[in-house]
Symmetry: C2
């Protein structure tokens, strides 16, 4: 009896026909001798529809207090409960023993941060009992319950987290994430038609790719998988290609290679001009942003001239105006000459382990962008990633140029 | 702080606009100083739609095992959860503190009879805490959870049971059941246009009326109310009329009066002809029906001639063929001459406390029916009810004739 965890997202269970295809896939593994524990999301656009209902309730009433996260969580998880029980019913109708469990029944204990709860503990006794009794277990994803017995969701994409946590707690051989793409690709196929599926990728590489725009999996789930060393297989629900294995160890032959190109256009740039170069300035600037929950991303501070420097950083576009409003009052305090904002920028990144020890990659990236007529506005690097901020009108060109320059369409995955 | 329990059915929360009207009604009581605890059903036809989904899953799959009650229960309660959280969100948007609770959070502990679970215990601590904190509590009706943490529903109409159980456990002053009719009527208004709303009625009378066709409230909820002496007010959600109070004690001036006329066309009649009149015969016949879960209603055994008697009883129409198939093999064993079935009968009843001690009522009933040209096929009586089985084509005439004969349109409620 080897437990495998599978997760099917909203598009995979979008209607009863797809639900049956999913059931057949689960049943095939069960018949082959595995013990499947399956996490499911809400069907199709259910979650969006439920949120729209809640907003409408709100919009039509005079006082207009924002919907409380606790009640929204109660409302939203009904979507996952519906798909879980329907999948269990489908499996039963096919003649297989199956049982559906809500997050609290499955043993997910969370903190009280409704809408973005963290898992405190997973008590797998009930699931293990059902597995021992020979049942396929279907878990409603995306939520658990607080000490008080209240429902708390993990936030968008949280069913990935459900699946990885289950795999970790149950000691599953593998956590299979089924989705509407065939795996992790070297680039966005809408931008690069010959983008290629990777056969394997490391957790770190996956995290960098995802942070920088590859929307295959929720990052939090990948982090959890990295901590508990749970191998993840990302594959297509309705295809037969083998998918991409996300794993812990680097496979030697893959090192020092660019694995993929990511991009993100939800980016805006803020520059504080002529900031005096003295200790504590950065803290003075970034603390109020942090207190307002604005995530600051790439930060670049140039060398100073006459003890003055320009400090540039990026934020999400939707937070640009709020960030600007927060910073304006501080300009005089820090002695800055001015504040410039630019919402028409984007990030393009190459990702691959070992690049930092092989400086040739950076220069090849910059050369490729220059040859493509693309101007680099800012540069930022991590151990396994090089990111350039470019004009957002040029970002898809940049992705294509880099995919080509690093031969990603032809290198074996 | 006086707790009042209110229940709103599916039509009362059929869309967001109605939900807002319900919220205003709840809020008005809250502002008047009461502590409302509100039980809600699923919105409109949600439950039917969810059951249809489950059946479709089933119908489209080859093997076709009936949907398991446990999974159906998981599926169905999502409807109640949606209305509960939306009502809480609406109340919050109006500026009132509100919290929604699922059956397990509200403390409903049930047995494992999925689809028709009985309440074993109601632990009201969580609700009382929320009430003490000044919140309006909205409870998703119709279900609780088993010792195992599984969701179990009370069966159709179960939100009435939720409300009455809450009122009993919380020591509520009154349990208000809001519905789409203005209260308990003297007869079905589709049959008798001048049927009149009763201002009050006893539990027993209500039970007889409901059993015999008045579909205002779930009988089980009335029984529960009778046991715990919870006064129930049945009233219209969107009207301003005062409704009908269902209570424990007879109000003296109301005794020995016919309170209402009920009818039921979901009736079929079976007659065993020429049964030898010896001990054990009835048991031999009714035991196999009971084992097959077929409810036998009115039973009439005439006096015997030549030690032979005819035994007649009624079942629900949908169970007639099954009942006949079960009885056929026993005919020879019991020595009966034959079995006759008739699906074209109906029940008509008059209900009122004290009738048994005032035989005039029975003869007035029979006379009224005779004057109306309606033949009586069988008669059955209880303490507070007289029922006649008549041809189903004449049953609405019978209701009108009796409503008129007992002056129900004009007697004060």
């Amino acid at each position: 009896m080897a437990i495998i965890v599978q997760k099917y997202g909203g598009t995979s269970v979008g209607d009863l026909d797809k639900l049956r295809q999913v059931a057949r896939r689960v049943a095939a593994r069960f018949e082959a001798g595995d013990s499947p524990v399956v996490a499911v999301s809400a069907m199709g656009k259910t979650t969006d529809e439920l949120i729209a209902l809640a907003r409408q309730v709100n919009a039509d009433v005079t006082i207009g207090i924002p919907p409380a996260a606790r009640e929204l969580d109660m409302l939203m998880v009904t979507g996952e409960h519906v798909s879980a029980s329907l999948l269990a019913l489908t499996l039963q109708a096919m003649g297989h023993p199956a049982v559906s469990l809500g997050g609290h029944q499955a043993g997910f204990r969370t903190d009280q941060a409704f809408g973005k709860a963290r898992i405190l503990n997973l008590e797998p006794e009930r699931i293990l009992r059902e597995v021992r009794e020979g049942k396929i277990v279907v878990v409603a994803g995306f939520h658990g319950s607080t000490e008080d017995g209240d429902t708390a969701t993990f936030g968008r994409g949280g069913s990935d987290t459900t699946a990885v946590a289950l795999a970790a707690a149950l000691g599953a051989r593998v956590c299979e994430i089924y989705t509407d793409v065939e795996g992790v690709l070297t680039a966005d196929p809408r931008v690069v038609p010959d983008a290629r599926k990777l056969d394997e990728i490391s957790y770190d590489e996956m995290l960098e790719l995802a942070s920088y725009g590859a929307r295959v999996m929720h990052n939090r789930a990948v982090e959890l998988a990295a901590i508990y060393r749970v191998p993840i297989l990302v594959a297509s629900t309705f295809g037969e290609t083998p998918g991409t294995l996300i794993h812990g160890g680097p496979s030697v032959e893959q090192r020092s290679k660019v694995r993929g190109v990511a991009y993100d256009i939800d980016v805006a740039k803020l520059t504080l001009l002529g900031v005096p170069d003295r200790p504590g300035i950065a803290a003075t600037i970034f603390e109020p942003l942090g207190e307002s929950n604005i995530s600051v991303d790439t930060i670049v501070q140039n060398v100073s001239h006459d003890n003055l420097t320009d400090l540039t950083f990026t934020v999400a576009r939707g937070e640009l105006e709020q960030a600007r409003a927060i910073l304006e009052p501080f300009l005089k305090d820090v002695g800055a000459r001015g504040l410039e904002a630019d919402a028409s920028v984007a990030k393009v990144s190459i990702v691959g382990t070992g690049m930092q020890n092989a400086p040739g990659y950076a220069s090849r990236m910059f050369r490729a962008l220059a040859d493509g007529g693309i101007n680099i506005q800012m540069i930022s690097t991590s151990e396994i990633r090089i990111t350039c901020i470019v004009d957002d009108g040029q970002v898809t060109d940049a992705v294509r140029v880099l995919h080509e320059a690093f031969g990603l369409a032809t290198i074996s995955g």
